[in-house]
Symmetry: C2
Subunit: 429 residues, 2 copies
């Protein structure tokens, strides 16, 4: 009778084989939870577990807002009233950290399973809420909080060999990936690609957090926390945006057998984390290079399992809702028999910008010198050029041997000053 | 007290938070389970759940065989004696179907969780054993039975939206993928590539089941069963091997923006399954094209989640062992609260060979005609040529518009007869 002591006694008793009504509470009823309410009847059909999903209550900021979904039995702005309800599982898609954290903690404290799509909440308080759920023998699930269309966090959470991650590279921002893909494949300008993303509803009202890499940096923090790498706030990361790139850069990259992708990269040793967030040259033979449009994906390696790669659709309301409902089904259908313990949180470590190769666009104020001359200027500034691409009438691209970003930036600053060159450097993955 | 009624009462009672010894039984002690015995101490360290894994017994065919692993407390050829043991989980890596099926069924019948790497067992009896495990409120897990290095079956088993798969394409045979990759990247002959695979220990003693596509066809059956597509025995599939391909074919494919991969493909509609197993042209931009050497992977789409892609290392003993141990940890650390029901098994459906484009190597007995003339011969035989590649001194490659394989084969037979052409056709994915 192992499980007896850890099952939430407030859960209604039922024979396991009988059809069962799952009482669902929704925190927030925006685009994502509206899609949850629309998809819930499909989940019944698909789950094959004889469950009936019933959205019994939704906590909202504005009761009067027009919504495209079946209306839950109760819709209210009253948090205390919502918390008094009886739920088999609650789905949180309200954001930001507060009041989500307080609501989730109170529900978990009562033993109610909670699933969330709230990236900020999981990055800042995921471990604390997971520990609380473990103490109360309930579930806290967050597959939708990172790469919402790609179910990989479940495997990491439960499978210790796979979860021993020491290195990863990922595309986590669908807007940036869409913009770069559109520039490359539609041969459009940066602004036209962004307008297209906006017209398709792929951007936030203010797209700058996506384009500047800040959203991706938040996701790095979330992944680092889930991998047990410790608390790595986005402010400690080297973050670059995709601004300033155009079709000539992508063409030049392709002539060297690469494409340019908005990447987050991390590698963990015992003493440090090497990390960066920003556009990078990715060899065309790598799976990340195959992710176009809004696809997102992650490649990771550890001691036991190398070169795992998971990818899938970028997050939209329907994709995120399907993931939340899958989490909800897992949360109500399984119970832990051993208490879940997260990987020990690493001591604070140094976060460094790694040495990588660089791909530098060079534009000259007047006459364009030949590749040999450009190489000479770079060598004089301390940069070792390994190859050159003549790309367009007014620019060249030079591949520079691996060195730290500070050294590159110093050399480029000098070249801008002494030769009035326009220079733009991105990393090579 | 939901879970009380479904927990196996024979499992030793323990406080969930306390450190706990997990008693592991091994069925078979070949290369895979030797690796399990070697890795088990690492699993303890990684799991963070305060578990101690102890291999208490192994059932073997030959006690005297030399093995590279810590010796389990008991090693015996006596099946009845083994079955009388007390286990928290049993790991089966004996193969083939019998006696594995009988042993696994008896253990599950007693409520003992079982994990397996046995592809034939899961393909033939996976549903029956899963149902038995559900009736006895225990676990039957088989992540290592297909794409052993890629944890994707867990997500499919527990997540109904992701599991609603209507189409997939996969590379499931590491030997075939290694041979084609080596031909392409090392520019070696087929035989030299195969010798290299054998020297690296990547092949079975008789590699023909790998090279002829029969192993891949078995994996199709397994995947179709797990997707709820019904019982599709390998004998009903169109199966081709990779024999006869050489570096000129791969070069010609690359000039059209493709590579050649050993693929299994399936698409399910309400009335039929379109399927094939064999080498196929894969566009270089697709993630499957990025899987070289022994990597394996699967792309799948359904109604809710499109273009998911999971890939990872091909199976070797260490990779398979890590997956089995991760399954074992999941099996002992969670218990189902709702009874697991598999997707309804589909009624028998028609299995068809799909219409796809074709890529045909043409070799002439004497003088090589120009592309225009070759195109004319094909057109006269009823094949619509959409493009041509002049590849080498004695061969051309023609891309043929989509048509059923029977039509292609008929036309090629006619051309062989009337013009004494040597012809070799593969599909385009």
């Amino acid at each position: 009778m192992l499980a007896q002591s850890i099952v939430d006694e407030s859960t209604p008793t039922t024979k396991p084989a009988a059809a069962r009504t799952i009482r669902v509470g929704l925190i927030g009823l925006g685009n994502v939870n509206q899609a949850v309410a629309r998809l819930a009847p499909e989940t019944e059909r698909l789950s094959g577990a004889g469950v009936r999903l019933r959205v019994v209550s939704a906590l909202v900021r504005d009761v009067g807002r027009v919504r495209r979904c079946p209306r839950p039995a109760r819709v209210s702005t009253n948090a205390e009233g919502f918390l008094r309800g009886h739920y088999d599982v609650v789905i949180e898609a309200l954001g930001p950290i507060e009041p989500a954290r307080t609501l989730v903690a109170r529900l978990l404290g009562r033993g109610v399973p909670v699933v969330t799509a709230n990236k900020a909440l999981v990055a800042a308080h995921g471990r604390e809420l997971t520990a609380l759920a473990a103490r109360r023998a309930t579930s806290f699930r967050y597959e939708a909080s990172a790469l919402a269309g790609v179910p990989f966090l479940g495997a990491l959470a439960e499978r210790p060999h796979v979860a021993d991650v020491s290195q990863f590279a990922a595309i986590v921002n669908g807007t940036s990936n869409f913009v770069l893909s559109t520039i490359e494949h539609q041969r459009s300008s940066f602004d036209a690609a962004l307008e297209r993303a906006q017209a398709l509803g792929l951007t936030e009202p203010d797209p700058s957090r996506d384009l500047d890499g800040l959203d991706a940096a938040d996701k790095f923090s979330l992944l680092a926390s889930l991998f047990g790498w410790g608390d790595v706030p986005a402010t400690r990361l080297e973050v670059r945006g995709i601004g300033g790139l155009d079709v000539a850069d992508l063409d030049a990259a392709r002539r060297t057998g690469h494409t340019i992708k908005p990447v987050v990269y991390g590698a963990r040793s015992s003493s440090a984390i090497d990390a960066f967030v920003g556009p990078a040259l990715v060899p065309l033979g790598q799976p990340l290079a195959a992710l176009s449009q809004t696809l997102s994906g992650i490649q990771f390696s550890g001691r036991f399992v190398r070169d795992l790669f998971f990818s899938g659709p970028g997050a939209g309301p329907e994709v995120t809702a399907a993931t939340l409902l899958d989490d909800a089904i897992e949360a109500v259908s399984t119970v832990r028999r051993l208490r879940k313990t997260l990987p020990p949180l690493a001591a604070p470590v140094v976060v460094r910008s790694p040495n990588t190769g660089w791909f530098v666009r060079v534009q000259f104020p007047g006459v364009v010198p030949d590749a040999h001359a450009a190489q000479g200027l770079f060598a004089a500034a301390g940069l070792t050029v390994v190859s050159t691409v003549d790309g367009s009438v007014d620019a060249q691209w030079l591949s520079v041997a691996p060195m730290p970003p500070a050294g590159v930036q110093r050399a480029l600053a000098q070249l801008r000053h002494t030769h009035r060159l326009a220079l733009h450097a991105i990393r090579r993955l």
